[in-house]
Symmetry: C2
Subunit: 594 residues, 2 copies
Amino acid sequence: MDKRNIRIQKLQNKMKEKNLDYYLIPTSDFHNSEYVGEYFQVREYYSGFTGSNGSLLISEEAAFLWTDGRYFVQADKELAGSGIKLMKMGEKGVPAIADFLAEKTEKLILGFDGRVLSAAYVEKIVKKKKNITIAAEEDYAGNLWEDRPTLSCQKAYELPLEYAGETVSKKLQKVREEMKKQQADFLFISKLDDIMWLYNIRGEDVSCNPVALCFALVTEKEAFLFIQNQAVDEKLSSYLEVEQIQTFPYESVYEYLEKSVSGIGIAPASDTNYRAYRILMNQNRLVDASVNDSPIPLLKAVKNKKEIANIKEYFLLDSVCVCKFMYWLKTTTEKLDELKVAKYLDDLRSTVKDFKGLSFPTISAYGENAAMMHYEACEDSYAGIEKKGFLLVDSGGQYLGATTDVTRTFAMGCLSREEMRFFTLVAMGMLRLQNAVFLEGCTGRNLDILARLPLWEQGIDYKCGTGHGVGCFLNVHEGPHSIRWRYDKDAEETILKPGMTVTDEPGVYFAGHFGIRTENTLLVVDKEENEDGHFLCFESLTFVPIDLDAIDLSVMEKKDIRLLNEYHRNVNEKIAPFLTKEEQMWLADATREI
Amino acid sequence: MDKRNIRIQKLQNKMKEKNLDYYLIPTSDFHNSEYVGEYFQVREYYSGFTGSNGSLLISEEAAFLWTDGRYFVQADKELAGSGIKLMKMGEKGVPAIADFLAEKTEKLILGFDGRVLSAAYVEKIVKKKKNITIAAEEDYAGNLWEDRPTLSCQKAYELPLEYAGETVSKKLQKVREEMKKQQADFLFISKLDDIMWLYNIRGEDVSCNPVALCFALVTEKEAFLFIQNQAVDEKLSSYLEVEQIQTFPYESVYEYLEKSVSGIGIAPASDTNYRAYRILMNQNRLVDASVNDSPIPLLKAVKNKKEIANIKEYFLLDSVCVCKFMYWLKTTTEKLDELKVAKYLDDLRSTVKDFKGLSFPTISAYGENAAMMHYEACEDSYAGIEKKGFLLVDSGGQYLGATTDVTRTFAMGCLSREEMRFFTLVAMGMLRLQNAVFLEGCTGRNLDILARLPLWEQGIDYKCGTGHGVGCFLNVHEGPHSIRWRYDKDAEETILKPGMTVTDEPGVYFAGHFGIRTENTLLVVDKEENEDGHFLCFESLTFVPIDLDAIDLSVMEKKDIRLLNEYHRNVNEKIAPFLTKEEQMWLADATREI
């Protein structure tokens, strides 16, 4: 018998004992983080499915795994022999989990660990399925996991003021002003990067995100941090004391909320886990919950002067790496493959001062692999690179002073006319958005079409957003702003402000053929203020050539050519001083005027 | 003593008698119409101010008139000697009426005619000024008006199906389906164009809008029309009977609502007058109110096949008039002035078949007058036209099959380099938007920047929307969609759908110098549907040359030149067959390839 069946059966026995009709095992930690550590791989333990996104639902007699299009093939393979039914998200006739439950007419009891689902997620289920009872007090699935890895507990540390740019007390003051406006007595914070930003600390508990597992609570006079004891050394402990941040054990947060917190508070339902949210709801009146209710994402998104200075410096050093990588890629005679080139780039980055790891696993995707937006080459499966077609490399680093994100698509040899045409349209869209001039008051929805129109004119859409905010030595995907086009009347949009960073990454993805993406990270800056208003524009933080070998001049307007030449002139000026003679000669050619 | 003082004093005596602290006289009819008839010029009677926008607020001992920037000079002049204080809307330190009242700390009783203010407007006042009592039962100001003109009561008439394109019963069915979705027992309709559309009737009670004064009520099984008896002749009466629309006297609507309507209903607070709304609120539970709650604006905005066919035909005939006008303007040797050219164009339009009047008073603005967005030349004040600079003409007609709206700016002789540059940038913006390709799901906010960017790049903004919906033989300004850029989280946006019409009218307005606007009316049409989605684009309904005498080729991209040439080729093809030989020769030159 498959070991997964044994595991699932044990859980089903427990469910029977506890009278649970269904048990849900998502892929999530206690903080709704983008990456989850080994401790939280419960779904993989029961299903054998290793993809980064998947939810396992166990019933009395069956098991279902929901995952998205990226993982259909892999999940099919990995689920073989387990008897688990694959639920292909987004396919016709495949209900979402909430709808799947809502379709059952009988009364149901649904079990899950109340700490690994957000309150907003559970709310959605309960709204759709009226006669459902939630049993979320115990981690039954996790408790039955033999040899479960321990919770990550790396040392957290202070981020010095030369990087943070603003004192904790100043940040707390701003947060409390916003709390006052919302008439809130307390703010409960679950989002790890929000806590890191507020307290000027960093950690290493989540892959690619420099964050420590913790919770925070801010009241009118006090500030609290709930963190694992072992994560706090003496140095951090005395720093927290100086900053008057009271520390309590990580595990004690629920008890603390229950016993010591009352009044009106803010706890965004999409970030806060169900257990914590329920406790707060029971004894407080929470301010109407949405991600924007917490004042921190917006404060964090507008980078301060020191942060901006650092961001510019580290983005330049990061761009130098990518330029050196491009030089090597374009001139080496070695036989290449996806893994080898990713390693070469990662190694280059690791030599940069204050390097603290990758901001996400490097995407190195050749040929048709690049058409999969979240493709990841791995030891078991990767492609060799031939002397033709495109290699797409999307990568970024974590440095004490910045988090970077850049994508370039490289011509590895001869290209089809179609490949060149679409590469050029993507570059045009990227540059047009980068050079936008706009009045303060615009959100990403006003600007998205500048990047997308060259493709829409061809009847092509890249089906994802054009850009996302970027943290400052924090998460590479950071809200609340973004550059997207789709209207959602329930989602509040965020106005772009000077000091925000945002990516600009249009692309073309032809399944089975090729993929192209060109991505710069931009900084919103002032342009001019006159009687017609306050005009803003972008400054590129990224300085890496756009591969001229793939440019088809005939599809560009005069202006597109001018923008490309201007950008390349800047790249050459900024990057050349960091290069060897050979690299400089190559760069001069790679950024030549066309 | 100024006769206005006598009038105001009489009203103040009445206020004293009735214990009113303030009395508000807006410029509005019972339906929040864009134009108001003579009967509703109460504000003018008391203040002497003749502008189209103004609200008079009378206190025990003083009087205040609010109006907007268009009318500051005129109001200053017209109010002289009246003692009425001019409140310049939008100027620093000038509170809006609601804020002006909110600033008073004492308890207040505010009087007004409850039929001439929308419920939404009153709600805003009451929200800001907590201790206020509303006395809206009597039209005290109107009742004191000696020799008040009578309420307009023109004959209403059926719009034949060959123009309406869809039967009343089909429309009622759609409306009732939407009511059902909102679980509404009834829909109360105050917006006159909504009622005209629903019942396939038209009228002549409001200037430029082909509508009759009336109210309507729709329930699950019945349909009602409250209209002046004299407005309904036998023909209309039997039509209404056939369509099973029950008619009641216009004045009886309030009594009817009070006595015969109950249940849950829809009555948008921004369209419904305060008196009617209060009655409905008192005895029903109204569905949460916003303009989008009524299903009619969206249904009306998507034109049906017959309407689209007619719109194309009448827009073409209308364009022919403007082309003939342009020919005359560019070739005549007469001495011209603003009034003369407006009359020439209006006369041309009046010869078109099924002409039913202008869709708004023609704007004919020369030189610096064109910098005033809503300038209207009149017998007392108009400019002569010299052989230099720009003449801006914004005009439109009402025809049985369409309502048109078109603006062209004409070079009347030599131009400065600046004038030519900005004219060209405006034309580029207009053409870029007109040629947009976009996925279904876009609203006007996604597209606005296409028209505006060429000006934003110069640090210039035209400070108004880029486009508005257009009725079909109805109001020239029609919602719910529009093309604007500014984000308002409380306003629901409307997705652009095939069959919607919308204007595209960027401009440049340099106070004291010149004004430029170029406006086509566009139709949203299907482009293609593929795996990436449903792509839409626009088709121009307007075919009038963009004055090549004002084009500065050096600021255009290749593509802009191509778009202009393509558009002009179309103009020549479509319009030439309707012209004389001389006009044809002129048009061929006016639309020549550049």
